[in-house]
Symmetry: C2
Subunit: 147 residues, 2 copies
């Protein structure tokens, strides 16, 4: 049955972010639809953001295109130099290699739901706002030290 | 600006289907969001189906995962052995190699809008309902003759 049945797909708020950077995504509840439905060409995450939660820390990937569409609710797309309110049906694309740190934040009083698409990156990821980077396959501080 | 501005992305109802198979998708209006936004890892099509239009002929790919989400309106997902009404927010996944011919048909009286995700296939595509196949990089009849 190709139709996605969300009730039968596990939902988690786990994160690989080391403390204290994990707190910002504690209210991000993710279902990974690709493995659940037998797809491997690209990843699809169904994401519920509770009020106050962020989709990630503001970041940009050297080698991963990302695409999001908001399904319900309201959220704010935060970039280097802009804030844009997104409503249901709004979409955004983040091409690899563009040094425009971005994330989605739920500043509303209710849940919002989005789908996020991408392929697993092998290259580095940059976090302009916090002392964190993804480099060499792991999270490090910007001085290169580990957590 | 990562937010997708549909008004500035060209919309087309062109198709590669040879006649008479082109008629079923005459009311399918597509915007290709990947090239328009600088993404290359996967394709994203914004598709408006007018009443009576289909997303494609019923088909399955040997080597392309496909994923759709309905954004507005109502449509019917038709498979080998099932018909499922889809509403806004409903999603479906079609893993490569599963011989379950599928398409989305707008049987309602108003437009419906969906997003379709995939990567360009290099392998064959099969159309169980009509005398058409995609093989060797082109459309052919099932006896191998060209159009």
């Amino acid at each position: 049955m190709p139709r996605i049945d969300l009730e039968h797909i596990a939902q988690t708020n786990s994160t690989g972010y080391p403390a204290p950077h994990d707190a910002a995504v504690a209210g991000r509840w993710v279902r990974r639809l690709g493995p659940a439905s037998g797809m491997a060409d690209f990843g699809v995450s169904h994401v519920v953001l509770k009020p106050g939660a962020a989709s990630s820390h503001r970041h940009w990937h050297e080698d991963e295109d990302e695409f999001i569409v908001l399904l319900t609710g309201e959220a704010v797309l935060v970039e280097n130099d802009a804030r844009t309110v997104l409503y249901a049906g709004d979409m955004a694309a983040f091409p690899k290699g563009e040094p425009n740190g971005h994330h989605i934040v739920n500043e509303s009083g209710g849940d919002c739901v989005l789908l996020a698409f991408g392929r697993p990156p092998s290259g580095d990821c940059h976090y302009p706002d916090i002392d964190l980077s993804w480099t060499g396959g792991g999270y490090r501080r910007k001085d290169g030290s580990g957590f």
